[in-house]
Symmetry: C3
Subunit: 291 residues, 3 copies
């Protein structure tokens, strides 16, 4: 429970979100990629949510309507999975289920770039990507730019890794947020979260996390879980980034390499307590001047 005068970017506020998450065990519907299906489900279970992976178009709309949040991740995209995503996102919007989009490798690949732009029409509450992905998605979704909705030109990253630092994508993140209404998170050594008006920086995390596949996807899934218990999408995004980053720090203190880091991170999400969150959260509010 945050102190009455704690700002929403304090460790107290993050701890309060975590407490609500565990009290409510929100049902988080995920349509994600083949690489991280298991690790995403385990991270959601470890933190205290209830994950369910339902991807076929025959089922995904009905399930998105009853879920507490929806996570859509564009990795290992196929036309079948794209149809399931489209149905789920439309149903989520109609049922007021909050949802988050992870535009994996958008910009580098034309097909999924078009799928991503199409999904934006269903108004995600949050978007999380690395700098290259956010730069590309902003360019692709700009109706005033020639070629918008098709290819991102040379903005694209190199596969799933970013070719840019987060700060380089701040202007695009703000524009994307204003255009779509979503809170936008650019993850990196320091994560940026903005809704166009406000800007938070999250300093939690550890460099070895980049050597475990899909921890960005885990972060997106935790944003989904937080959207179910925190009505402000920007706070939900920033709090989730603190939680995953802090779990990564704690895991790195015990890990020898990426194999043990992956295991320890699940233990850390499970063991994370409010006192540790309050003591170690690195979340700062900044002014978002004209960037």
């Amino acid at each position: 429970m945050p102190m009455p005068d704690s700002p929403p970017w304090s460790g107290d506020a993050v701890a309060a979100t975590l407490e609500r998450l565990r009290a409510r065990t929100p049902l988080v519907h995920s349509i994600t990629n083949l690489v991280v299906t298991n690790s995403t489900a385990n991270a959601l279970l470890a933190i205290g949510a209830s994950p369910a992976m339902v991807e076929a178009e025959e089922e995904s709309a009905a399930f998105a309507a009853i879920a507490d949040a929806l996570v859509i991740n564009l990795g290992t995209m196929t036309p079948q999975r794209a149809r399931g995503m489209e149905a789920a996102a439309a149903a989520a919007r109609q049922a007021a289920t909050p949802w988050v989009l992870d535009p994996v490798a958008v910009g580098a690949l034309g097909y999924r770039s078009r799928v991503a732009v199409g999904l934006l029409a269903h108004r995600p509450q949050a978007i999380r990507g690395n700098a290259s992905e956010i730069l590309a998605l902003e360019a692709l979704s700009d109706p005033d730019r020639p070629g918008a909705g098709r290819e991102a030109g040379n903005e694209g990253g190199r596969g799933v890794d970013s070719a840019h630092a987060p700060e380089a994508a701040l202007r695009s993140a703000r524009a994307l947020s204003l255009r779509t209404g979503a809170a936008v998170t650019v993850s990196g050594a320091v994560d940026l979260c903005t809704d166009g008006a406000r800007l938070f920086r999250v300093g939690n995390g550890h460099p070895m996390m980049t050597r475990v596949t899909g921890l960005g996807c885990t972060a997106t899934a935790l944003i989904g879980a937080c959207l179910a218990v925190e009505p402000d999408p920007l706070l939900a995004s920033a709090h989730a980034m603190v939680l995953v980053g802090l779990a990564g720090e704690l895991a790195a203190e015990r890990a020898r390499g990426p194999g043990s880091l992956q295991m320890e991170l699940l233990d850390a999400l499970y063991l994370l307590d409010g006192a540790t969150v309050i003591a170690r959260a690195s979340l700062t509010a900044d002014e978002l001047r004209a960037v």
Copy 2:
């Protein structure tokens, strides 16, 4: 080897099943969901079976015919995978390959409910689900009930988690067993296994197992492995539930959280020996009065 006068629900009998499993390394064909493909294969390898995941309809029938057992799990269902399951189950029945059905989230979702009812026509030797899934599958497969084969109404669980305790599903489990001829297992804090005439309760397990994704799916896969070496499907089911529950208990003694539990469980399945099984199996036979 069980003592000549050991009942089939003794630890000796479970240890004998484990010994046969390791001696024969049965080829266990699995068509399972995207969340647990890796953990299912690893659990089967750890206990001593030989897993093979073959799901396309172009291949699944031919493989089910040569396998020693078949596992069909309805999680992350798609029409493509449903066709592969249908072909495999039909071939298994024709080739007398024993098979087990895991009706993940049946009742909550209309599409997979229909697939599940269709698969029952191929006469699985065993079925394992949580209480909500067994309640729903029994209702869906009842030809005398209005709406059978379509929706399970409000029997359905909340996503993949059960909204009911196992004992609440005992009557349905018995009816489903009598209707289908399958041994039916309802998993939970205490697991129930019945073939309509007999009833076993399995007390092995640990609460933290619910925080690792897919351990129910692992239990189903081990039932498949036991079906290959134990001709009585009820004993195969009950013995498998002891083995996975006991491995979970042993793992929990060493684990800090769900990440280490998942890793330790594979080690425990691999290291499990007959003496430990005999000392710690919690398997009791009960009378199945009119319930």
Copy 3:
């Protein structure tokens, strides 16, 4: 850096390949099976490569053209994934992206046997399988053999496990290499690598590795990563087999069972240093007489 007079099968040469791999972090495009998507990506990240899983035919050709290497693995084959593989392999050949084929369970299953033979037309630089798979692929691809391209008769293994020792497949490996131009690796207790003219044996590895699913697939992925930094496909193959085998040995020294082995193997790939490679590589060149 190998000593000027170190032969290419020395530990120095393997250490030099590892050093180049880490310096260049090659982008390794993988189209692999559902069982190992996560563990393959994690192994590539741990050793120092940059993995990307892109499988749909709408994307796979474009990505194969920009990747540094391509890995195609036939496990859990579907027609959709086969089309993605076909497009990627064709694009890789045209763009001179080196690629490696893992013919999982070829011979045991008619459908994927036809896919495998079709992919050979796109000239992989390397092929890795167990003895049964290499025996079957050689037979299937022999234009002078009745039934070539259809079924492998009784050459097929039992599911994904080999029914033969590597040495039994040496003649077939050589013939397959001469016919396709690929370096062919037959993995087993001692791995054989040949290009038809030369033969290397790799003694690194540990028996417990067979109890973790998909370590053969991991080996194939590492061959892909080495193809990106070592122009001689035979050396790339042999060096990769040393690296994965040595990581397995180091992991086994710390593991209690297959669960911890899987975790420790990722740590070992990450921590592997040149001195350890030089001290422990077991790579020998042999004469390839008429076999």
